[in-house]
Amino acid sequence: MISWDILGAWLSAAMVVWIYSFAYRDNLFYKLAEHMFVGAAAGYSIALALDSLNRVMIKPAITTPETFWTTSWHYVVPAILGVLMFAKYSRKYYWLARYAVAVNIAVGTGLALRTVPIANITRQITATIVPLWGSDPVTVLNNWLLVLITIGALTYFLFTIFPRRAEGARPSPLYYVYRTLYYIGIYGMMVGFGALFANTIMTRVGFLISIYLIYLQPQYWATIVAAILAAIAILLPLIRKK
């Protein structure tokens, strides 16, 4: 007897194979898996959002109204603002949605702005003020690299005022300092991008490995059948073309 669990496991293995089959070529099974994924993800998000609303507000308001109206009455305000968002779909009342959007943006901006200057600016600047001399050569080298590459990268992004080499004139010392820092910035960023690229490979391969271990290896027959179906779907149009 095939249970829903087994069917689900087979389906998940097949979906993984069909989604990955796009790496070879677009095909019928990839499209099927893609549409199913988008539909399921959208449906799940809506269901979960409604469940969250029901769990946090509607159910407590109905089952324990005394507690709700004394401790959690303020939930009504975001609920009303949320309902106002749907006014966008009305030609007559679309303007009501602006209030909800305005509150949302204002709260978000206010919350972020109260700490952004400290968290993202001040603390980052103070983190680059490090000792450039000391007993540990590795720490000293790291500190020099940190300071030079930070200044270099900032110099690279100077778009307004920077020393230029005048036509036929001898460049000023400031010009050489600027050019040196400019190139340190470029190479520093290149190293950063290289690290980012390597990390990207690691993440994507990690996804592939774990997906294979979790979904494909336990259901290898479903995987093989799905792979054969995808291969047919890829090869058949190519053969027909020839």
Partner: protein, 286 residues
């Protein structure tokens, strides 16, 4: 002439992305079927995180754990989450899980099923609580830091927050000894730095995807977080440290072989590029 056509066809084969994908697939699957047992060393960064928990958290301490990753990212982050959870439970800590993402609910339940042994003997409501999905992004993070009870009235399973014994011990950011963020998104880390660390000075610990790590490194460098676990590799290392080998360790051979393959292709690509450049220079700079 024959040699030239042969080299062209070989070049075409080497250029085809299908070949690379197939070799990558083989390099991933083979070491899983036949493990090579390539040893891995514990990095200083992972050891520092382990030591922080070992030295700073006392039995009965409280930890807030943000679960913010989708099913696809399970392989990279679940080993970290499971190993950290085991370490925290072994230390006698109590954990409040929460998620600012709707998919956090799925991955938490999957994690609990996979790591049933870690949760065995731990009582829900007393040793750990799962708040479920808390909508609102950064605003929700700020609200949770101010008061969990004021933000959510019930947990993921519909239990009233005030009826859970653990939630009578904690309510705001300063009640927690450590906040762990396991996320596949860059913004989540910024939310917690801005809304939990900066106003309340609560120690943060990051568990991030490898791809995210360079973006959030400045927070760790600026000591806004006590440490960071990066991807599957850190998960495998932490599994070794806590003595529970799982998905992270199982993936390491495949990670090593696939990386070697990518390295080989980078070398081949560079050799071909430079040889073409040199030959075009010799041929009059065509």
């Amino acid at each position: 002439m024959i040699n030239m056509s042969r080299s062209i066809s070989l070049g075409k084969i080497l250029e085809s992305r299908e070949l690379l994908y197939t070799l990558l697939l083989i390099s991933v699957i083979l070491p899983i079927i036949h493990p090579l047992g390539i040893p891995i060393a514990v990095s200083a960064r992972t050891k520092a995180v382990y030591d922080y928990i070992e030295n700073n958290l006392k039995p009965g301490c409280h930890v807030y754990f943000e679960i913010y990753y989708e099913v696809a990212a399970r392989g990279e982050l679940e080993p970290n989450v499971v190993a950290l959870t085991k370490h925290l439970f072994d230390k006698g800590c109590k954990i409040v899980y929460g998620s600012l993402a709707s998919f956090g609910v799925i991955v938490f339940e999957l994690m609990k099923t996979t790591a049933a042994d870690v949760f065995q003997g731990r009582e829900y409501g007393k040793d750990y609580v799962f708040l479920g999905y808390v909508a609102g992004g950064e605003s929700a993070a700020a609200s949770l830091a101010k008061s969990i009870k004021g933000t959510v009235s019930v947990d993921n399973y519909g239990n009233r927050i005030e009826n859970l014994p653990l939630m009578q011990e904690v309510d705001k950011a300063t009640d927690f000894d450590l906040v762990i963020i396991a996320s596949s998104g860059t913004d989540t880390f910024a939310y917690y730095v801005r809304q939990w660390y900066t106003p309340y000075n609560v120690p943060l610990l990051f568990a991030a995807l490898s791809i995210i790590a360079p973006s959030i490194e400045p927070y760790v460098g600026a000591k806004q977080a006590v440490g960071m676990l990066v991807g599957q590799r850190a998960g495998a290392e932490y599994e070794t440290l806590v003595g529970r080998l799982g998905l992270g360790m199982a993936s390491m051979d495949a990670q090593s072989t696939s990386h070697m393959l990518v390295l080989v292709f980078i070398v081949i690509g560079n050799v071909v590029y430079w040889s073409q450049r040199l030959s075009s220079k010799r041929g009059g700079g065509k």
